[in-house]
């Protein structure tokens, strides 16, 4: 297993370099100019100087290796420096956003907590709701509970967040005035009351996103449970005289979790990508919103870095899902 993991990690290096190259070339070849948003009153020669100042005067075969060097060498050096007070970086150039002129990673670090809190929490909540729903739906197939579950997940699949989000705002913020419609990022949690405020502002975005996760994961859970409930070994377990809870929770659930865990693991990168639409609706200034603004402003370093980080996460989660598969299913051995 360890050999397998290390081999896969090594193999992911060329994969990621290739992904980085593709993203870079896509951004390079795409139309669009970082200077496009500048006022027309700026003379062309000044614009040209600004372009050169951003490093755009160099050809791509200089800029791409430079970005790689900044991403893989300079940025980690800065992290080590800030963590241990050393001076490896020695004032080297970091990846700088075209728009804000501040280091890209500083901005990402500022946006990360909001996204993790809202989107990450919605994923956890969604999965926690989905698992019992899936289990009960499968165990009581075609019952009222199962039919309701099917209906709700159909809604979750088919109603987009830009509708459900706005609907929730209209109901709970505008009509009932129970919950705030805007997520206040500057809110500091330091007492019980402020914690309650934080909870109240989180509820709506979290539930909008959780509905989607629940719909998906509960379907997978139900299908997987149904698959295993009809297996012969379940009948064996009943014939052994095991109690129904042992049969369902130990024999069926453990075997059903294998594919579901893969689905859950592969969904995790999406958390870090933020939920672009939902973050826009509730004004959560997370990563999704950052990416959208960077795209609109042709902020190439920012887009490049965020997209590449997502690619790294997807590759890593694939690896983790594969390793988990091997741990959970004794029939799969990688050595």
């Amino acid at each position: 297993m360890l050999t397998f993991t290390i081999r896969r990690l090594l193999l992911s290096i060329p994969t990621l370099l290739f992904i980085a190259f593709v993203i870079f070339m896509l951004l390079e070849l795409a139309p669009g100019d970082p200077m496009a948003q500048m006022p027309l009153t700026i003379p062309p020669e000044v614009k040209e100087k600004m372009r050169l100042a951003l490093g755009l005067g160099e050809p791509w075969w200089v800029r791409f290796p430079l970005w790689l060097k900044q991403f893989f060498i300079v940025e980690p050096q800065y992290w080590i420096d800030s963590a241990f007070g050393t001076n490896f970086a020695d004032g080297a150039q970091r990846i700088i956003s075209f728009q804000s002129r501040s280091p890209v990673f500083d901005t990402i670090a500022q946006r990360m907590p909001q996204t993790l809190w809202v989107v990450g929490m919605s994923y956890v909540v969604g999965v926690l709701i989905a698992l019992p729903i899936g289990i009960i739906s499968a165990y009581r197939q075609y019952s009222v509970f199962d039919q309701t579950g099917t209906f709700v997940s159909m809604i979750g699949f088919s109603v987009p967040p830009f509708f459900s989000g706005v609907l929730l705002i209209v109901i709970f913020s505008v009509q009932l005035k129970w919950l705030p419609s805007i997520y206040d990022t500057t809110h500091v949690v330091n007492s019980w009351d402020s914690f309650v405020v934080q909870l109240r502002q989180m509820i709506m975005p979290v539930m909008v996103l959780a509905l989607q996760t629940t719909a998906q994961v509960s379907r997978y859970m139900r299908a997987s449970m149904l698959d295993n409930l009809t297996q012969d070994y379940v009948r064996t377990a009943r014939a052994k005289g095991m109690s129904e809870s042992v049969v369902v929770m130990k024999h069926v659930l453990r075997n059903s979790m294998i594919p579901v865990i893969t689905v859950i693991a592969l969904g995790i990168p999406a958390i870090f990508g933020g939920a672009i639409i939902t973050e826009q609706i509730f004004k959560v200034n997370g990563l999704g919103q950052l990416l959208i603004i960077a795209l609109q402003g042709n902020d190439i370093p920012m887009v490049m870095t965020i997209t590449f980080l997502l690619a790294v996460l997807i590759v890593m989660m694939n690896l983790i899902a594969d390793v988990l598969y091997g741990i959970l299913d004794p029939r799969i051995r990688y050595d």
């Binding site: 012969d232 070994y233 009948r235 064996t236 095991m242 004794p330």
Partner: protein, 330 residues
């Protein structure tokens, strides 16, 4: 049972297991599959009752219903002096140690994520108060009894061959010292050389532990080898039940005669002489059994009465039961 002074360990009376069919827009109940439709038999203590019949005749359903792995439609089942026909499943759990089952597919009937030791030990965890050391000893003892190396206790089922997996299944069934074991085609998924090993193992264990078997199979020669008495099923009903010797020598029911004539004869010169009774047509659907006798659509000896009246299942000679109008008392 004049010539059989033993007392029955299992006695089944008029057992019915109908599976509902739902169809249409509102999934209304439109009918039922009469998988087992009123069967009665006794299994004596220490004997092996063979249950034979072609695919889909309800053998396996009958075996599972006797152990109440299904909630049966109607009928009485008495095992070891206790009526279990209508006992709710949760009360039935306590009685499961007496009655166990060996399943057909040794691959699918073992949980792929449990080691052999965990599979055999689980019933001990549930039904006994042994200490962990005693449980481990018991598991090792059972593995010895079925001829599995103790060293394999930590392995998972997928690492074993079909015959070894069936041995695990048998060890698992034996764990709680049962009296009655339903063997549901335990050898059907194995190749012939392994079949003999497993059947011999079952016989040895029967002798050693004084077990009673209900042996379900479609392999007539294997049933002839292992069974004390044989019951023949057709379309959810027992058509004939008799001692092994009598049944194979002198079958009374036309279906049994046809079934036995289909057994391959190893001697070519004899094989040429034997006359096969070839049945025409297919088995009717168990959801729409024919009127009268279930076998009347294919019976070479069908009479008018067969198409109207259902034959009664009765004792036609001491210890011999059949359901056929040919044997109506005159």
């Amino acid at each position: 049972m004049l010539d059989n002074p033993q007392k029955p360990l299992v006695s089944v009376r008029d057992l019915k297991m109908h599976f509902p069919i739902y169809a249409g827009l509102f999934r209304r109940r439109v009918g039922e599959v009469k998988a087992v439709d009123g069967i009665s038999f006794d299994v004596m203590e220490g004997e092996t009752l063979g249950l034979v019949g072609e695919s889909g005749c309800g053998k396996s359903t009958a075996g599972r219903s006797v152990l109440r792995l299904y909630d049966i439609t109607s009928g009485q089942i008495e095992i070891d002096g206790r009526q279990i026909g209508d006992t709710p499943q949760n009360q039935l759990r306590g009685m499961r140690p007496t009655m166990q089952m060996v399943f057909q597919d040794p691959q699918a009937s073992l949980n792929p994520r449990m080691t052999v030791e965990a599979i055999i030990r689980e019933p001990l965890d549930e039904h006994t108060t042994l200490t962990p050391t005693e449980k481990r000893d018991k598991v090792a003892e059972l593995m010895d009894a079925v001829g599995l190396n103790r060293k394999f206790a930590g392995r998972y089922p997928h690492a074993f061959s079909g015959g070894q997996r069936q041995r695990i299944g048998i060890a698992r069934a034996l764990a709680l010292n049962p009296k009655f074991i339903v063997c549901d085609e335990p050898i059907a998924a194995l190749d012939v050389s392994i079949q003999a090993q497993v059947v011999n193992l079952l016989e040895d264990l029967q002798e050693k532990y004084g077990l009673t078997y209900l042996f379900i199979s479609h392999d007539l020669s294997m049933v002839r080898h292992i069974a004390t008495r044989v019951a023949v099923m057709y379309l959810g009903k027992v058509v004939e039940l008799a001692d092994r010797e009598t049944l194979f020598a002198d079958p009374q029911h036309p279906y049994t005669q046809a079934l036995l004539s289909a057994v391959p004869e190893p001697d070519p010169s004899l094989a040429r002489k034997t006359e096969r009774i070839i049945l025409q047509g297919d088995v009717p659907s168990p959801s729409k059994p024919p009127k009268g006798c279930n076998f009347c659509t294919r019976c070479p000896a069908a009479m008018d009465i067969c198409k109207t009246g259902e034959p009664e299942y009765r004792e036609i000679a001491p210890g011999r039961f059949a359901a056929c109008h040919l044997h109506n008392p005159t």
